[in-house]
C-alpha cells in the first residue's frame, strides 16, 4: 500500500504571537515551529497501516526551508521518503495550498492520502477535502479507524454528540484523521540515524507550473481579538489569589 501523509509545520502551541508590520500576518522571525499536531496523528495512522499491510509511507510537506526539520522528524519516525514543496505558505488559502500539494503528488499514484483534520495555524479544516476534489478521489473526514478490505476500505467517522458511522469507499481515497485516536510514537535513535539517508524530493511552485487562480476570499488584516469580557485577575501568592477568588465567587458572583 502506498500511503502519502500530508503534514504541515506550524508555530509551537505555546507561542506568543505578534502581528507583523504589514498587518496581514504574524511576525514569524522569533517563533519555534513544530509539526501540526493533527497531522502527527495522520502520520501515526499511516505508519500503523504500513506496519499492518506493508508498502510505503511518503511524507508530504509544503513550507519554507525550516520545514525540513518537520520532514526529518517524520522520516525518523518511519516515513520512507518525503516530498518537500519549498514554498512560503504564510496565509495562503486552502485552495492554493491544495493545488500545490495536488501538483506535487499527482505522479505518485498513491493508494491512500492521509492528513490531519485541520491545521493549528490557519484552522480552515479544508485542505484535505479540497485535495481529494482536485485529485478526483473519494474522501472521509474526522476518521477514527481505517480497515483495509477487499476492494477498498471501511472507515469509522466521528459525528457530533457521541455518534459514529462506518463508511465504505474504494481506493485510492483521501482521509482526514481525528486527533488523539492513538498514542504517538517517538523517533528512535536508530530512526533518526536512518532518516539522514532517506530521500527528500524538493519541488517549487514554479517547477509545478501552477496557474495562479483568482482569489475569491482575501485575507485583509489579522489582529488580536478584542476582549469581549473583562476578566478580573487575582494576583499575589497562590494562597492570596485563591482566597480572593473564593471571596468573589461567594459574595459577588454568588455561585458558591
Amino acid at each position: 500500500m502506498k500511503i502519502i501523509v500530508s503534514i504541515k509545520q506550524v508555530p509551537a502551541r505555546d507561542s506568543q504571537l505578534k502581528i507583523a508590520a504589514s498587518g496581514k500576518w504574524i511576525e514569524e522571525s522569533d517563533l519555534a515551529y513544530e509539526i501540526n499536531e493533527p497531522d502527527a496523528y495522520a502520520l501515526e495512522a499511516g505508519l500503523q497501516l504500513k506496519e499492518k499491510h506493508g508498502g510505503e509511507v511518503i511524507a508530504l510537506c509544503a513550507g519554507p526551508a525550516r520545514a525540513a526539520s518537520t520532514i526529518r522528524e517524520a522520516l525518523a519516525k518511519g516515513a520512507d521518503r518525503a516530498i518537500h514543496v519549498d514554498e512560503n505558505m504564510g496565509a495562503l488559502d486552502p485552495l492554493d495550498a491544495a493545488k500545490l500539494l495536488a501538483a506535487a503528488v499527482r505522479g505518485e499514484s498513491a493508494d491512500l492520502i492521509l492528513t490531519g483534520l485541520q491545521s493549528d495555524d490557519l484552522g480552515y479544516g479544508q485542505t484535505g477535502v479540497i485535495l481529494a476534489e482536485l485529485l478526483g478521489l473519494p474522501h472521509g473526514t474526522i476518521i477514527m479507524e481505517v480497515e483495509v478490505r477487499e476492494g477498498g476500505i471501511r472507515v469509522k467517522r466521528e459525528l457530533e454528540d457521541g455518534w459514529f458511522q462506518h463508511v465504505e469507499m474504494p481506493l485510492p481515497a483521501l482521509l482526514t484523521i481525528q486527533s488523539g485516536i492513538s498514542k504517538l510514537r517517538y523517533a528512535t535513535l536508530m530512526g533518526i540515524k536512518k532518516a539522514k539517508s532517506k530521500e527528500i524530493r524538493r519541488v517549487t511552485s514554479s517547477e509545478l507550473k501552477l496557474e495562479p487562480s483568482p482569489a475569491t476570499a482575501v485575507l485583509e488584516r489579522v489582529h488580536l481579538p478584542e476582549r469581549t469580557k473583562r476578566t478580573q485577575l487575582f494576583e499575589g501568592s497562590p494562597k492570596e489569589a485563591a482566597a480572593q477568588l473564593v471571596e468573589k465567587l461567594k459574595f459577588e458572583a454568588r455561585v458558591i
Binding site: 495555524d121 484552522g123 476534489e133 485516536i181 476570499a217 485575507l219 458572583a253
Partner: protein, 327 residues
C-alpha cells in the same frame, strides 16, 4: 440584488441545533446587504421541516429532495447543492460549521473554483461587500476575510456565533428542487449510525462544573481536580485531549465533539480554550480560569482568573473552599 442562502442541516427529520443560528445570520446579513434571504434543506421527505421554515421571514425555501439524499454522502450533497446554486444564483451561501459541513463544503466550493471561509465568528458589510471574521492560531489571532468577485461565496459559521432566537418570523414560499443525481456517481457507502455507550453523565444538568485540560500533565494528577470538584459539589468534565488519553471517560468531554454545557459556574483548570472547547461552554453564567499562560484564549471568555501554576493554585483553592464551608 444580493441573495443570501442558508443551507440548513437535518438528520432523520430532526434539525441540527445550529441550523437556526445560520438562518438568523442569513436574515441579518441579507438585511445589511439590502438583499433577500432564503433557505435550503436537503433530504428525502423534508416537508415537515420546510413547513416550519414557511413561517419564517424568507424569500424562498428550497426543499432539495432525492432518494440519494436520504443518507448523507459528500458526493450527493455537493452535486445537489451545486445544481441548486447554479439555478438560484445566490450571492452568499451560509452553512452551520458542523462536522457534516466540514465534510462537503470545501468540495462544493472547489468544484465552483471558490474558497470557502470556514468557521466564521462575525461579519461586517462594508461598501456592499461582505467581510467575515475567523480565528487563526486556535483563537489567538483574528483574521478579516473579504469576498471578492462574483458569487456564489461560501462560508460556515461557528456554533454560538449567531443567536437562533433572533430568527425573524414571517412567511416564505416553499419550492421543490429535484437535483439530477445518479447512484453511480456516489463513491462512498454510508452505513448505520451508532453510539458506543449510553451517556451516563448529563453534564448539561450540572450547576457547577470543574473542567480539566492538558495543563494537568498526567493521569496521576487527576485526583487533584476531583478533589476540587468534590469540594464545590461540582461535576468533573474535561477538554478533548484528556478524554482521548483515557484519563477521564469520553462522556465527560465538553466541546464541539462532546457535550454543550451552560452551568452557573464553569471552572476551567489548565484549559487553554481552543475554539472546539469554547463552543461547548461559553454559555456558562460565570467562567473561572486557572492557567499559566496569560494569553490563553480561555481568558477571553473568563469572568475571573488566576494566572499561575495550577499545581500550586488548586490546593490553595480547595483549602479556601473547605475553610469557608466550615466557618
Amino acid at each position: 440584488m444580493s441573495a443570501v442562502l442558508a443551507v440548513l442541516e437535518q438528520r432523520g427529520g430532526a434539525w441540527n441545533r445550529m441550523s437556526f443560528e445560520t438562518l438568523a445570520a442569513a436574515q441579518q446579513i441579507a438585511r445589511e446587504m439590502g438583499g433577500t434571504a432564503g433557505a435550503a434543506v436537503l433530504g428525502k421527505g423534508v416537508d415537515a421541516l420546510t413547513g416550519e421554515l414557511a413561517a419564517k421571514h424568507l424569500e424562498k425555501v428550497y426543499a432539495v429532495e432525492h432518494d440519494l439524499l436520504e443518507n448523507y454522502t459528500p458526493d450527493a450533497y455537493s452535486a445537489a447543492l451545486r445544481q441548486l446554486v447554479e439555478q438560484a444564483k445566490p450571492t452568499v451561501v451560509l452553512f452551520p460549521h458542523t462536522y457534516q459541513v466540514r465534510d462537503f463544503m470545501p468540495k462544493l466550493a472547489t468544484s465552483l473554483g471558490k474558497v470557502a471561509v470556514s468557521d466564521a465568528i462575525a461579519h461586517r458589510v462594508d461598501g456592499g461587500a461582505l467581510m467575515l471574521v475567523r480565528q487563526l492560531f486556535q483563537g489567538k489571532v483574528n483574521a478579516d476575510m473579504r469576498f471578492t468577485g462574483d458569487g456564489p461565496h461560501f462560508a460556515s459559521l461557528q456554533a454560538g456565533a449567531y443567536r437562533a432566537d433572533q430568527v425573524a418570523e414571517g412567511s416564505a414560499a416553499v419550492e421543490k428542487f429535484a437535483p439530477a443525481l445518479s447512484a453511480g456517481d456516489i463513491r462512498t457507502r454510508p452505513l448505520e449510525l451508532f453510539r458506543e455507550s449510553e451517556r451516563a453523565v448529563d453534564l448539561g444538568a450540572a450547576e457547577i462544573i470543574v473542567s480539566v485540560g492538558r495543563g494537568i500533565k498526567e493521569a496521576d494528577n487527576i485526583p487533584l481536580v476531583e478533589k476540587l470538584a468534590k469540594a464545590l459539589g461540582a461535576e468533573l468534565a474535561a477538554s478533548r485531549p484528556i478524554c482521548d488519553a483515557g484519563w477521564l471517560p469520553m462522556e465527560r468531554q465538553v466541546g464541539s465533539s462532546g457535550q454543550t454545557v451552560a452551568p452557573k459556574m464553569y471552572l476551567a483548570v489548565g484549559i487553554s480554550g481552543a475554539i472546539q472547547h469554547l463552543v461547548g461552554m461559553k454559555g456558562s453564567r460565570v467562567v473561572v480560569a486557572i492557567n499559566k499562560d496569560p494569553n490563553a484564549p480561555i481568558f477571553e471568555v473568563a469572568d475571573y482568573g488566576i494566572v499561575g501554576d495550577l499545581f500550586q493554585v488548586v490546593p490553595e483553592l480547595i483549602a479556601e473552599i473547605e475553610k469557608r464551608k466550615s466557618s
